[in-house]
Symmetry: C2
Subunit: 390 residues, 2 copies
Amino acid sequence: MPEVAPKRGFEIAEYETRLSAAQYLMARHGFDGMLLLSEPEIRYFSGFQTLFWQSPTRPWFLFLPAEGKPIAVIPEIGAALMRRTWVDDIRSWSAPAPSDDGISLLIDLLTPYSKRGATIGILKGHETGLRMPLGDYERLISGLPGLKIGDATDIIRSLRMVKSEAEIEKIAHICRVASRTFDKAGKLFFEGQPLSEVFRAFRMACLSEGADDVPYLVGGADQGGYNDVISPPTDRPLQRGDILMLDTGSVFDGYFCDFDRNFAIGKADELSQKAYEVLYHATEAGLDAARPGVTCRELFSAMQDVISTFDKESGDVGRLGHGLGMQLTEWPSHAAFDETVLKEDMVITLEPSLSYGSGRIMVHEENIVIRDGTPRLLSKRAVPELPVIG
Amino acid sequence: MPEVAPKRGFEIAEYETRLSAAQYLMARHGFDGMLLLSEPEIRYFSGFQTLFWQSPTRPWFLFLPAEGKPIAVIPEIGAALMRRTWVDDIRSWSAPAPSDDGISLLIDLLTPYSKRGATIGILKGHETGLRMPLGDYERLISGLPGLKIGDATDIIRSLRMVKSEAEIEKIAHICRVASRTFDKAGKLFFEGQPLSEVFRAFRMACLSEGADDVPYLVGGADQGGYNDVISPPTDRPLQRGDILMLDTGSVFDGYFCDFDRNFAIGKADELSQKAYEVLYHATEAGLDAARPGVTCRELFSAMQDVISTFDKESGDVGRLGHGLGMQLTEWPSHAAFDETVLKEDMVITLEPSLSYGSGRIMVHEENIVIRDGTPRLLSKRAVPELPVIG
């Protein structure tokens, strides 16, 4: 690890800023509180960070009142860790407890709100889910007959889309780590290597470069281009003439990079070279268009205009990039449906893709921060021509 | 990798068996279909396996009719991969599409059910969540006014708790991989090594031994015992007299191991040695009790009886083990509330824990399969006395 990693965690001031911004928006939306259930949101407002979320057994709750600090209602197994955050009011129960997994604690907390007919925001919108049993949610709501439930997705979305400098530095760090790993592709990958071993070699190298983890790694390799971008690897050995793509979501201190690289093994066919150049230029068009005040639809169009010179039908991946941060993919989407206006300090991917040849697809991806003027590249820019390795 | 890994994937016969077992139980519960939204359930019935689920952007749906094969309603980006499974009927849309993310496709599919007042099962119970926007779920339900919704948790739970031999071999394999990695602890970990580097060394070694990934790795280290078992690592260097614990959920072909190991760095204090021995014997008691026909409550008591000879209050982790397989933790729970009767071919963890000293905790964990007679150990049994390394 040739560089010093950013400091882990955040200053309390950062949580205070997040909370007051949320409370300002809650007031504007007429919400008397927000009940959060999901990992990124609970971490965003409390600093509570653990891989324990991978266990689906226990629900976790963080309540943001209209004024004052967050209140945690969590399983006892997490109380010690939560006490190390800036949250003071921690209410816990011995979980799992299928007959009452935090529900009566929540009803105690929210009954005063229910009695005065208050409105509480929860996440109900696009790119969210309900991380608790639906049956428990229905019981909770029916136990709070006066409570009105609103959708807080717009509030959370608008807050989380714009990153602080401390957040940007974490993403920049993991982007550098993954960029250094991709720079070693010529040493890591070789003809005859099973794709599963390509993945393993990438994971180990990326950890060695400083990633905390490499939770997301997908890709493909096949003659004259790959045909799928979300599969786990097979044991098929790399062959001369393969186009190899690896797309990684590696993590540092709970923040993701998300970008890919393409390589030709031994030699590159002309059509793949051409596809690569089109995507390189589509990304350039994206870099030129990505400015504060531009909409995601416009950014999408700037890239799509280049892609359509080569691929009339275009692929059907639904979008050409997205937000990035605590999750591998976040709001917004660079797509025709998304009128989100880009703002300074949004961290996004540019991810143009196309179909070509006989059912082949190609995807490029870079990670950037929107700045006043040209965006800052967080990933090390891919080379302009399809690199040949192995 | 000194051993041949099991074949990836499953024979189609395995999916046919899972489906007919589900349809038999659906008929008994009066369900005319089941609508599944979550990664493990969709994978269980279709074989659809991808890390792409880490992106929260798109919902995915698999419908199991009362008769006939599953029907996939999924984003177009996953259609190529789904076509490689045994599922024939694949309905896709260009996602994300916030205004209609699969909802009209689902309404088309389910309207005949709604018209005849049929009952559809979805997961609403313990250890489940709703992996789609709650707002979309509410729109779906209101678009199907005649449809009755039942809770399918008991059906899915009873199916998934009992593993096939092919599933057991995948879990056994990743348990061997992680066991070999723990066997190298004396070479991997040393005094002065920051805990974050301990984690990194474990991850790289476990990948090198044959894990596809090490998505879950938690632990702690401190003088005379650790005090938290779910935190990410700090940069604190290992010190002589530390007790180090690492708990890993490593993965092969979509199946988890989940066990931990404890080590003393340089020297072991007497109290930690004693705690270790108590937990070793509690695990022995668990191994002696884990038989078909025994309830999880009884298994819990067998371990708790040993623990309470040392720790009167016991910890508050809520249970002393759980199911294991496609997820890091699955039903059932070894806890006083769980009357689940153990059956042959259930894969479970035995995870006794205790509190001791000044706020210290210790956890042991092994992975086993319930058999007719003594259970089969999948993890290599921990040594009887706290090992000293470094």
